[in-house]
C-alpha cells in the first residue's frame, strides 16, 4: 500500500513534455567528444556522434532566472514529490540509428512511471522518464529510460 503517493500524484503518469527539435552540428559533436575523452577519430572529427551525445543535445537550455541557486534547472515534466533528495539514478538506452552532423532530431519525453518502495532507512520514491528520439521521418533513433530515486 502506497503511503506517500497520492492518487493526484500518480495521475501524472503519462504526462509528456512538448517535443523538442535540435540540429546536430559537427562542432557540437567535436566539443562533446573532446570533453568525454573519446579516442576514435570519427568522433573527434565530428563525422559521427558518440553513443551518449544525445544527453548533451537534449539537455534543457533554460534562462538564468529559471536555474535554482544550486545551478539546476527544474524539470517541468515532474510534479512536486513529497521526497526531494535525489539518490543514484539509472539509465537504459536502446539504439536504433547512428547520429551524424546535419541530422535534425526530435525528442519527446514522457513520465512513464512513479512508484514507492520501502528502503532500509525509510520510504523511497522511484520515477521513470522515457525519451524517444526520432528523425523528421518519424524513424526511431534511440529510446532512453531514466529512473531516479528520491529519499
Amino acid at each position: 500500500m502506497s503511503k506517500l503517493l497520492t492518487s493526484d500524484l500518480l495521475a501524472n503518469i503519462g504526462r509528456s513534455a512538448p517535443p523538442r527539435e535540435e540540429l546536430v552540428t559537427r562542432r557540437d559533436i567535436r566539443k562533446y567528444s573532446v570533453a568525454t575523452d573519446q579516442r576514435l577519430e570519427k568522433f573527434l572529427a565530428g563525422d559521427e556522434a558518440p553513443p551518449m551525445f544525445h544527453v548533451a543535445l537534449f539537455w534543457d537550455v533554460v534562462e538564468l532566472n529559471e536555474l535554482t541557486p544550486d545551478g539546476v534547472s527544474v524539470d517541468s515534466l515532474l510534479p512536486k514529490f513529497p521526497l526531494e533528495r535525489a539518490m543514484a539514478g539509472g539509465l537504459r538506452i536502446d539504439y536504433h540509428k547512428a547520429i551524424y552532423p546535419g541530422d535534425v532530431l526530435v525528442s519527446t519525453r514522457v513520465l512513464t512511471d512513479i512508484y514507492e518502495k520501502q528502503g532500509s532507512q525509510g520510504p523511497l520514491i522511484f520515477y521513470e522518464v522515457t525519451m524517444e528520439v526520432e528523425n523528421p521521418s518519424g524513424e526511431p533513433v534511440l529510446t532512453q529510460k531514466t529512473t531516479r530515486i528520491l529519499r
Binding site: 566539443k31 568525454t36 575523452d37 548533451a56 539537455w59 539509465l91 538506452i93 539504439y95
Partner: protein, 141 residues
C-alpha cells in the same frame, strides 16, 4: 580476423581491456559546458564541500556512463554495433580520483551475433561505482 571468426571466438568470461581515467577540473568544466549543466557540485568547490557536504567536486554521472559506452565500442571496433546499454550511478566519485572502466562477456549467441557484456567503472578502492550491462550485435551475414 573476419567478423564471423571473431564472434565464434568470443566466450563468456572473456575480459574487455581496462582503461584508466583521471578527470580534472578542466575536463569536468568542458563536459558540463557541452551539456549546459550549471549544477554547482561540479565546479564550485566551496559549495560542493561546505553546503552539500561532498568531499570534492562531483564527477557527473552521465560522464561515467559515456566511459562505459567507450569501453564497449572500442572493444567492438567495426565488427558490430552497440544495441543497448543500461547502467546505474551507485556511488559518487570526485576530482582527484583515478577511475577504471572495463567489463567481461556474459553470454554470446553465435547465430544472431548477439553478445551481452557486464560493464563497470571502478574507483581506486576497486569498488564498482557504476555497474552496467551492454548488448552488442556483431554483423554475421
Amino acid at each position: 580476423m573476419s567478423k564471423l571468426a571473431r564472434i565464434k571466438s568470443i566466450k563468456p568470461g572473456d575480459v574487455l581491456p581496462e582503461r584508466e581515467f583521471e578527470p580534472d577540473n578542466v575536463q569536468l568544466f568542458l563536459y558540463n559546458s557541452a551539456l549546459w549543466n550549471a549544477h554547482r557540485i561540479h565546479f564550485d568547490h566551496p559549495y560542493a564541500t561546505e553546503v552539500e557536504g561532498y568531499p570534492g567536486l562531483v564527477i557527473a554521472g552521465p560522464l561515467l556512463g559515456d566511459w562505459l559506452t567507450q569501453s564497449v565500442i572500442e572493444w567492438l571496433g567495426d565488427d558490430g554495433k552497440l544495441a543497448s546499454i543500461e547502467y546505474s550511478n551507485r556511488q559518487a566519485s570526485y576530482i582527484g580520483e583515478t577511475l577504471r572502466s572495463g567489463g567481461k562477456v556474459l553470454s554470446s549467441e553465435q547465430d544472431t551475433g548477439t553478445v551481452e557484456l557486464e560493464m563497470y567503472i571502478k574507483n581506486e578502492a576497486d569498488e564498482v561505482i557504476t555497474p552496467g550491462v551492454a548488448v552488442v550485435r556483431f554483423a554475421v551475414t
